[in-house]
């Protein structure tokens, strides 16, 4: 009796730490940029959710203590030695991890990247939290949802040369036809500086007395615009929305300057990464251009020519869920 118990715990310990792959549970390693970051802790929570849904999966949440590629290489090498079934990594460096991850794939380990990608040759597929088209649509939808009768909106961007913001605004303009009555009256640039963004937002409020919303697809801009709206006494008449982090926007939601804003949901992201890794390792899906891989409750992801796919629309944060997320990231 006692001996059996001892043997079992030894077996469990071996399975957990360094032993040969146990036949029953599939082991998926979630490698993050660094341990102790709220965003990744939340992603791990999502991965655990996927594991309990799938049943026969064990999640190994790991990563270096600081955000270095060297640290991640060490972690991945030890995962290869443990012969895990799949590695899902958010990379600190696009290229530096490639040789190590190639070694893992040669040993038959499924390798995917998520959040922050690895170069194509170093992974089977990459999961983006969202796509430019989805983000472009989301930022105008956020403003339009609170303007059933239409209205004037203005965009407060980062710099005139910020690639991401320019693409998102371009994508937004493409879908403007779906939002009749919504007028984009101006696009201004706050250069991702708090003081300039604040002045630009104040300028918008002055120049367009009927302005209904300011869309800021940048985390510095959205916070500064919210503060400018509060200081101008325009809470309730000008809604600030766009892309921001819950921890940074909690004050703006509380003051009412912002009704809602969006950004990826790390829980969904970790959940989806684990789901994809599971299906690829199991062999019931293959990562190839055009392939569709199931992600449980998040639907399917379709891969493009570079084997990358977008998870979903950015997740919307408002007064109902801000408290839950503001301490996470």
């Amino acid at each position: 009796m006692k001996l059996t118990k001892l043997l079992t715990s030894v077996a469990v310990a071996a399975g957990l730490f360094a032993g040969p792959a146990s036949a029953e549970d599939m082991r998926i390693a979630l490698v993050v940029k660094a341990l102790g970051i709220g965003f990744f802790e939340a992603a791990a929570k999502g991965a655990e959710e996927a594991a309990s849904e799938l049943g026969d999966v064990e999640i190994i949440y790991t990563g270096p203590t600081d955000t270095t590629a060297e640290g991640q290489i060490e972690v991945i090498n030890s995962l290869i030695a443990q012969n895990v079934d799949a590695i899902a990594v958010s990379a600190n460096d696009t290229d530096a991890l490639v040789p190590t991850l190639q070694k893992a794939m040669q040993r038959g380990i499924t390798v995917i990247s998520w959040d922050s990608g690895v170069a194509e040759e170093g992974r089977q597929m990459h999961l983006n939290p969202s796509s430019n088209a989805l983000i472009g649509n989301m930022i105008i939808k956020l403003a339009a949802d609170h303007l059933p009768d239409g209205g004037e909106v203005a965009v407060l961007s980062a710099t005139t040369t910020s690639t991401n913001q320019n693409i998102w605004i371009e994508e937004m303009n493409k879908v403007m036809g779906d939002y009749p009555g919504i007028d984009v009256v101006a696009t201004v640039y706050g250069d991702d500086l708090a003081d300039k963004s604040y002045r630009e937002a104040t300028g918008l409020i002055q120049s367009y007395p009927d302005l209904d919303a300011i869309i800021a697809p940048t985390s510095v801009g959205i916070v500064a615009a919210a503060q400018a709206v509060v200081d101008a006494g325009k809470v309730g008449s000008v809604n600030v929305t766009g892309l921001g982090l819950p921890s940074e926007m909690a004050g703006a939601i509380e003051s009412g300057a912002s009704q809602s804003f969006a950004i990826w949901n790390p829980i969904d992201l970790g959940y989806s990464a684990a789901m994809i890794a599971y299906h690829l390792a199991k062999g019931d899906a293959t990562a190839e251009p055009g392939a569709s891989i199931p992600m449980g409750r998040m639907g399917d992801v379709t891969l493009d020519d570079t084997n990358a796919g977008a998870m979903a629309d950015p997740f919307v944060y408002d007064a109902s869920n801000i408290a839950e997320f503001k301490d996470i990231f």
């Binding site: 500086l193 708090a194 003081d195 300039k196 916070v223 919210a226 940074e248 509380e254």
Partner: protein
């Protein structure tokens, strides 16, 4: 020197012309409420320009002011988050002390180790920003973490002007008093005008420069708290590149970059000129691609005017020497 010909008169004229042009495109800009808002928005620049003026006057330059502001602001924000009970008065004193300490480090290196000021402050600029990163790991202090009193102080309105604006007024008055009515103020001019002659009159040049850096640092520290409270956010990069605006305000205000020439009113007017441009550009519907070029051109035009009026004729004091040259 006639009043009409002075730098200050020309700057006042330039500011009025500027306001006229802006008003012709956006009349709302010159309403009293908006002018108060513009003045308040420019207050940090005025405070920093006054500190910078003293430093430049003594033939030095302080490029670390924006980094000093960011570090002091972050420390104030962190204290507020950890100990929300600390009264604002204590925080303001702490910001002054911390800023002065950082200024003293600059001043000490310039004074005792005789390192060129531009090199010293370029170095400390990066060090101060680096320290913020060490303190916070790059994370932000956000609006909802700060106490209401912390954020409200610079916004509190007294006699129609927010406290932030009043502080700029008070700092201007104090600096005016120091520069015009104290031996320290005279020493700044003497050291900048002719350091060798200053030594012969018994002025310690290094010590005077040290004190200039302390004043500049102290004002940067004060602005640090005000900045963070006003924008209700603190992170590593706040006020990035602001040191150049501060130097530009001084230069527009007729502060000679080679030292020796400066006035308090000039520095204030220079800051106001720049502040009005910064506030006007967003409302007069100018393409953002042109805005930077316009700001730059305005600075050069203002300086060109100053250089013309400021050119001293040079008096011939030795007739015979004139012919031998």
């Amino acid at each position: 020197m006639s009043v009409l010909n002075s730098r200050e008169a020309i700057l006042v004229g330039a500011i009025l012309v500027l306001l006229g042009i802006v008003a012709s495109r956006f009349p709302g800009f010159v309403t009293p409420t908006n002018l108060v808002a513009v003045f308040t928005d420019t207050a940090p620049l005025i405070i920093l320009a006054l500190g910078q003026m003293v430093v430049i006057l003594t033939r030095s330059i302080d490029l670390s002011v924006a980094a000093n502001l960011a570090l002091t602001g972050m420390v104030c924000a962190l204290i507020n988050v950890s100990f929300p009970g600390v009264p604002i008065g204590v925080l303001v004193l702490l910001a002054l002390a911390l800023g002065a300490t950082m200024g003293a480090i600059n001043g000490f290196l310039v004074w005792k180790l005789a390192i060129p000021p531009i090199v010293v402050t370029l170095g400390t600029m990066t060090i101060f920003r680096g320290i913020i990163f060490l303190l916070t790991d790059g994370s932000w202090v956000n609006s909802h973490q700060m106490s209401a009193a912390f954020k409200a102080f610079p916004r509190e309105t007294v006699l129609g002007l927010p406290v932030l604006g009043w502080i700029a007024v008070i700092v201007t008055l104090i600096l005016g008093l120091v520069m015009g009515r104290t031996t320290l103020g005279r020493a700044f001019f003497a050291v900048g005008g002719n350091p060798h002659a200053a030594v012969y009159t018994g002025i310690n040049v290094g010590r005077t420069q040290f004190l200039a850096f302390v004043i500049s640092g102290m004002l940067a520290g004060l602005t640090g708290y005000l900045w963070v409270a006003r924008y209700a956010v603190a992170y590593v990069d706040i006020a990035g590149g602001f040191e150049l605006d501060v130097v530009a305000a001084c230069v527009i205000g007729g502060v000679a970059i080679a030292g020796g020439v400066a006035t308090v009113s000039g520095a204030v007017l220079g800051a106001l000129f720049l502040g009005i441009i910064k506030n006007a550009l967003p409302v007069i519907d100018v393409s953002p691609f042109w805005q930077l070029a316009i700001s730059g051109a305005a600075i050069i035009i203002a300086v060109a005017f100053n250089a013309r009026t400021g050119r001293s004729k040079g008096r011939v004091i030795l007739k015979s020497a004139e012919h031998t040259q």
